[in-house]
Amino acid sequence: MTDIVAELAGISAGYRGRDGRRHVLDGVELRVGAGELLAILGPNGSGKTTLLRVLAGTLRAASGAVELFGRPIERWSRAEIARRVAVLPQSLELPAGFNVAEVVAMGRIPHARSAFGSGPDDEQAVESALRDAGAMDLAQRSVIELSGGERQRVLVAMALAQEPGLLLLDEPTLHLDLAHQLALVRTLQRLRTARQVAVVAVLHDLNLAAAYADRCLLLHAGRLLPAGSGGDVIDPDLARRAFGVPIEEALTADGRRVLTTVAATRPDGPRSG
């Protein structure tokens, strides 16, 4: 881990409940560096989206310090952030009438220099974004014709076109089938090495996260807890407490540890035999 791309210290942000007195994030610490793939795990409502918003600068923390690339976030303008930080939202409706290349090219908006045209920089950035996201073959397709997996690749390409140093993804695998989930996570892995970009991805599949991320963090009770690194899954006890369901550890055929949510007792389970 080389340069620190983003750092959160003592962050309290977001409001839980109607009374708004307790914060969703309460004393969060985080540090992510260039070329690192960081997975954020946690149950719904634990504040994962809030965390990403704080990192992206779209939500101001109630207390604590946020630093991007060594500079406090308050000193960044919205345009400056967009040149260094790209966000892949949970879902995005793409407007009809555009083709994929045009949508990806919107990622160049923060870097726009001339009033009306796009320069060779822009074309290059779009091309390499499409290539790295595996969406080159989709370039001239109309965006309304895309399948879920194809659309996800396009969104990744649009984020990459921003040439970010920090890439934030909010549940990118949510609407994807297994094959596409796998492909996406592998792409993220590739990207963080190839482009030396820091990637922070909110994932819901514990095993996928553990297998591909450099580090996993679990959001629980308003704090980020280390949840495994280098391929190791988190402690099943921690997982049980965080998710509130019975979680067991199992071994795969080749000896890797994985977590599974099969219940201990199954009164209505399938008939055997």
Binding site: N99, I109, E127
Partner: protein, 360 residues
């Protein structure tokens, strides 16, 4: 294989060639329609005389071989109407494009956040005031009459009110803007209706204004409206990227570096200025601001780099053409003509696009 795909350039937007064709074609159409419009009228002053008169007035070419009445007809009656039609048509279409992007609603038109209702209330009040306070009509502000000033101010004030009503702590949500626009417009329209009811013998003048007409276009009025409308154009044209970003939704636009709340304010002000200035010249002409952006989006795509200037050019052409029709049809309000001309064509285009779109 890889080399081959890399060699073919990616289309990152409407190509330069395509833009040239679309805009150039539009400009050619606009010029042709304008020339025809100046050369045609009920009085029979023809094309050769009209052309000679314009050259004479603009560049001092040639000696006057025509009666001064012909000169007055061409220079003081026809030409201001044509220029006014261009300005108002372009302004309405441009404002419509902006509001459709800003509000992410294809049914938005330039009047949706209150401009028409506010301008109408101002204009109708101004039409009726001289009946109450005889001296008030005597003043001329900036070459405009009372009605124009009140209409312009009314349109802008209504937008301010709608925006203020829709403002919440986090920003101004688009749906709230739309609803507030509807509510405020309804209230102001009720005011207009009440005034119409009380207008007595001025009713004809009120109705005539509400239906919209370029008959009152004069050089002083154009001199007032042109800087506002053209200024809005220039500033809006420069914002095409931000308009495109807004199409992705406000949150994503923020992630692409757009200060969304500030941008919405700026876009609203500019579009409202162009609209109100246009309404001050011509009354509330409908249809142009809603349908021209639609037609063009169906035909040329939603990228504002091309859509905005195209809406200006084609909006101008449509209104000049409609005004020509209105003049030749006996001076009927031009808003009627725009609807009669444009609606069937729009319906046809809609059907055609439905038929031709590939089914998934």
């Amino acid at each position: 294989m890889r080399a081959a795909t890399a060699a073919r350039p990616l289309a990152l937007g409407p190509s330069f060639g395509r833009s040239t064709v679309v805009l150039g074609g539009g400009l050619v159409a606009l010029t042709a329609i304008s020339l025809i419009s100046v050369a045609v009228g009920t009085s029979g002053v023809g094309a050769t005389d009209a052309g000679a008169i314009i050259l004479h007035r603009l560049f001092g070419i040639g000696t006057a071989t025509w009666p001064s009445s012909s000169e007055a007809i061409v220079w003081d009656l026809r030409l201001p109407r044509v220029v006014g039609g261009m300005l108002v048509g372009a302004g309405l279409a441009c404002a419509g494009t902006v509001f459709q992007a800003l509000l992410r609603n294809p049914m938005a038109d330039p009047y949706v956040i209150g401009t028409a209702a506010g301008a109408s209330l101002g204009a109708v009040a101004a039409l009726l005031l001289p009946g109450l306070i005889p001296f008030i009509a005597a003043g001329w502000w900036l070459g405009l009459g009372l009605v124009q000033v009140f209409a312009f101010a009314g349109g802008l004030l209504a937008v301010v009110v709608v925006y203020a009503v829709a403002r919440a702590q986090g920003g101004t949500p688009v749906v709230t803007l739309l609803l507030a626009g509807y509510a405020v417009s309804s209230l102001l329209s009720a005011g207009v209706a009440l005034l119409m009811f009380l207008s007595g013998d001025r009713l004809a003048a009120v109705v005539s204004w509400l239906l919209g007409s370029l008959g009152g276009a004069s050089w002083p009025r154009l001199a007032f409206a042109a800087p506002l409308i053209v200024g809005s154009f220039v500033l809006l044209l420069l914002r095409w990227r931000r308009l495109n970003a807004l199409l992705l939704g406000e949150e994503q636009a923020v992630h692409l570096g757009v200060e969304v709340e500030r941008e919405k304010r700026i876009l609203t002000v500019l579009a409202a200025l162009a609209t109100s200035a246009g309404v001050a010249i011509s009354g509330t002409i409908g249809f142009v601001g809603l349908v021209v952006p639609h037609l063009l989006r169906l035909a040329f795509g939603p990228d504002h780099r091309l859509l905005l200037p195209a809406s200006m050019v084609y909006g101008a052409s449509l209104l000049v053409l409609a005004d020509l029709g209105a003049r030749l049809a006996g001076g009927i309000p031009v808003g009627i003509v725009t609807a009669l001309l444009g609606a069937p064509f729009f319906l046809w285009l809609l059907r055609r696009s439905l038929v031709m779109r590939p089914r998934p």
